[in-house]
C-alpha cells in the first residue's frame, strides 16, 4: 500500500496543468496499491490554489504559503518535512519538478525515478518505465529506498479531471533551510502567450533553422500556428539563433510534446529533436530535403520550399 503526495506547481497563484498530470500518476499508484493520495499546494497563493485542487479526490490538500519568487532551496525543506508521512512523492517533470524533487529526495534519502512515462503496480509493488537515451531505450526501474520520489512526463499522463467533492485542507509549517539564504531571487520574465501551452496543446507547429530569422517566424510560422489554434515550437538551432525564445525548444533538452498533430517546418530532425516529438500521433514534415532524418518519423512529408508552401497551407487551413 503506497500513500502518495503530489507536489503542486503554482504559477501566479494558480496550479499549472502540470500538477494535474502528476495527480493522474498519483491516482494510478494509489489505486494500484490500495493506498491514497494527498496534494501539497506550496508557494505564493498556495491557499487559493489549494481550493482549486480540492476537487480532485485527494484525501486532503496541504497548504504552505511561501511568498516571493521560487527557488528550490526555499521549498525543499518544507516539501521534505511533509513528505515524511508518505511513501511516494510525485511531481511533473517540468523545469520546476526536475529542479525541486531531487533536492527533496536527497533530504529524505530517497531514490528518484525521473521523467517516467508509465506506472506499473504488479501485486502491490510499484515500478516505473522511463525513456532514456533521448527516447531510444525505455527502462523499467524499481526504487529500492523506503521512500520513492518520482517525476512524470507531462505528455504521457492525461491531466486529471475533477472528481467532485472537496478535500479538506490543512496548513503546514514552512521549514527554514540555510541553503535558501545563499540564493536571492531577483526576478522572472514570464512569457505570456494567448496560444495553448506547448506542453499540452493538441496541435504543435515547429520551425527550424531554415526559417532564417525571427521575422520569418512571425510572418510565416505564426499565421499557420494561429490558423490551426496550435502552440508554437522550435528546434534547438532556431532557439539558439534567437529566432524564438528558448522555452519554445522541443527536444531532449527542451520540452517533450506528444500532440495529435505535429508539423515540423524546415526542421531536419536531429536525434535530439526527435526525442521531443516522436510520440506525436500524426507528424507532418515540410522540408526541401526528402532525405532529412525527420522522414524517419513523419507520416506525411511535403517536399517543398517552406516560404512558398506555408502561406498557402495557412490559407487552405483557414478555408476548412
Amino acid at each position: 500500500m503506497a500513500n502518495v503526495l503530489v507536489v503542486a506547481e503554482l504559477l501566479e497563484g494558480k496550479a499549472r496543468k502540470t500538477t494535474l498530470c502528476a495527480v493522474t500518476a498519483a491516482r494510478q499508484i494509489a489505486e494500484g496499491t490500495g493506498g491514497s493520495f494527498d496534494i501539497l499546494s506550496i508557494g505564493e497563493g498556495a491557499g487559493a490554489a489549494a481550493e482549486e485542487l480540492a476537487g480532485y479526490g485527494a484525501g486532503k490538500v496541504l497548504k504552505a504559503e511561501i511568498a516571493g519568487g521560487y527557488t528550490c532551496e526555499k521549498y525543499a525543506a518544507t516539501v521534505a518535512e511533509a513528505g515524511k508521512g508518505y511513501d511516494v512523492l510525485v511531481a511533473c517533470a517540468s523545469a520546476y519538478g526536475k529542479d525541486l524533487l531531487p533536492r527533496v529526495a536527497a533530504k529524505l534519502g530517497a531514490g528518484v525515478a525521473s521523467d517516467i512515462s508509465e506506472v506499473h503496480t504488479d501485486g502491490g509493488k510499484v515500478s516505473y518505465t522511463r525513456p532514456m537515451y533521448a527516447g531510444n531505450v525505455f527502462g523499467t526501474v524499481e526504487i529500492l529506498t523506503d521512500k520513492q520520489v518520482v517525476t512524470v512526463r507531462q505528455s504521457e499522463f492525461e491531466p486529471a479531471t475533477a472528481s467532485g467533492g472537496a478535500s479538506p485542507s490543512e496548513d503546514i509549517a514552512v521549514q527554514a533551510d540555510p541553503a535558501a539564504d545563499k540564493v536571492e531571487f531577483l526576478g522572472v520574465e514570464v512569457v505570456k502567450s494567448e496560444r495553448p501551452d506547448l506542453g499540452d496543446a493538441d496541435i504543435v507547429v515547429s520551425g527550424g533553422r531554415a526559417l532564417k530569422s525571427a521575422e520569418n517566424f512571425t510572418n510565416v510560422i505564426e499565421p499557420l500556428v494561429d490558423a490551426l489554434g496550435a502552440a508554437m515550437g522550435a528546434s534547438r538551432a532556431a532557439c539558439d539563433a534567437g529566432y524564438v525564445a528558448p522555452e519554445l525548444q522541443v527536444g531532449q533538452t527542451g520540452k517533450v510534446v506528444a500532440p495529435k498533430l505535429y508539423v515540423a517546418i524546415g526542421i531536419s530532425g536531429a536525434i535530439q529533436h526527435l526525442a521531443g516529438m516522436k510520440g506525436s500521433k500524426t507528424i507532418v514534415a515540410i522540408n526541401k530535403d526528402k532525405e532529412a532524418p525527420i522522414a524517419q518519423v513523419a507520416d506525411y512529408f511535403l517536399v517543398a520550399d517552406l516560404f512558398d508552401t506555408v502561406p498557402a497551407l495557412t490559407e487552405a487551413v483557414k478555408k476548412l
Binding site: P131, D240, E247, T253, L313
Partner: protein, 283 residues
C-alpha cells in the same frame, strides 16, 4: 576561482537510435558506437573555462578547472578526460567504477567526497547525461553539500568581489534571474554556448566568443600537446569512503516500438490538407 567539472562518457548520442538491448532485456549494448563526452558536460566545461580565463589574452588561465569522471578505468574514459584537459582544464580525476553500479545517488555521493577533498568555489556540471537522461545528480550533490544549486543556467556573470554570481536560468515559462553566493552547483542550458553568456570580470565585458553551434570549443594543437603531460589522479569510491548502495534497480530495458506505417509523400498543399482533414482527421 577553482571549478570542478564532472564529465561522463556516453555512447555517441548522435547515433543513439542504433543502440540495442540484450535478448534478456537486462542490458543496453552500444557496440559499434563511439564513446563521447556527454554533450551537456561539454557545455558546462565551456562555461567553466570561460569563467577561469582571459579570452582577450589568448585564453590565458586565471583560475583552475579540475575534471572528474566516474567510470571504468580504460582508454575510453582516459581519452574523454584528456579531451577536456586539451580544451584547457588543469588536471583530471578518474574515479574507477563499473557503470552498472552507478545511479544518481551514488554519483552525487562520490562527487561530494571529491568536493570535500578539493574545496572548489563552484561545481559546474551537465544537467543530465545523454544516456540516463535523469537530470538528478547535480541537485542531489548540492543538497548533500548544503550548497545552493542553479539549474539550467544560460548566463553567468561574476560580481566585482567575486563572491556572488548573477545567473539567468531557463524555466518552462520564461527566464528567472538569481544572485547566488558560492560555493554552489551550477548546471547549464544550451544557451550557455552563446558568445556573450559568461562574464567573469577578467575577460573584457565586450568580448564576443566565437559562435559555437553544437558543443564547447575545440582543443588547439598546443592544448592537445600540453594535455599529455597534465596529471590524471585515480581513486576508487572505497578510497573516498563513499557508500555505494544503489537506490534504483533497472529490471528491464526495451527498444521503443517502431512508428507504425510508412511516410506518405504528398504532392502539394491541397493533397496535404486533404490527407490531414479526411484521412488522419486531425484538422
Amino acid at each position: 576561482m577553482k571549478i570542478l567539472v564532472s564529465i561522463k562518457r556516453v555512447a555517441d548520442p548522435d547515433n543513439a537510435s542504433k543502440l540495442k538491448v540484450s535478448s534478456d532485456g537486462t542490458t543496453v549494448t552500444s557496440e559499434g558506437l563511439e564513446w563521447k563526452m556527454n554533450p551537456f558536460d561539454d557545455w558546462s566545461l565551456e562555461a567553466a573555462l570561460r569563467l577561469t580565463e582571459n579570452a582577450a589574452e589568448k585564453n590565458a588561465r586565471v583560475g583552475e578547472v579540475v575534471l572528474v569522471s566516474i567510470g571504468p578505468n580504460d582508454e575510453h574514459t582516459q581519452r574523454i578526460i584528456r579531451e577536456g584537459l586539451a580544451k584547457g582544464a588543469e588536471r583530471g580525476i578518474l574515479v574507477e567504477a563499473d557503470e552498472g553500479n552507478l545511479d544518481a545517488g551514488v554519483v552525487s555521493s562520490i562527487l561530494k567526497a571529491i568536493v570535500d577533498k578539493e574545496s572548489p568555489d563552484l561545481v559546474v556540471m551537465g544537467k543530465q547525461a545523454a544516456d540516463g537522461d535523469s537530470n538528478v545528480a547535480g541537485t542531489e550533490l548540492a543538497e548533500k553539500l548544503g550548497w545552493p544549486v542553479i539549474n539550467y543556467a544560460m548566463k553567468i556573470q561574476t560580481s566585482d568581489d567575486g563572491k556572488t554570481l548573477e545567473v539567468k536560468r531557463e524555466l518552462d515559462t520564461g527566464v528567472a534571474t538569481v544572485k547566488v553566493t558560492g560555493p554552489a552547483v551550477i548546471t547549464t542550458s544550451d544557451r550557455i554556448l552563446h558568445p556573450e553568456s559568461v562574464k567573469n570580470g577578467v575577460t573584457p565585458d565586450d568580448h564576443q566568443y566565437a559562435k559555437l553551434e553544437v558543443g564547447g570549443r575545440y582543443a588547439s594543437l598546443k592544448g592537445i600537446m600540453q594535455a599529455k603531460k597534465k596529471p590524471i589522479d585515480q581513486v576508487s569510491p572505497g578510497d573516498l569512503g563513499v557508500d555505494t548502495s544503489k537506490s534504483l534497480n533497472y529490471k528491464k530495458f526495451e527498444l521503443p516500438p517502431a512508428r507504425s506505417g510508412q511516410t506518405t509523400f504528398v504532392e502539394d498543399v491541397a493533397d496535404l490538407v486533404d490527407k490531414l482533414h479526411n484521412t488522419a482527421k486531425v484538422i
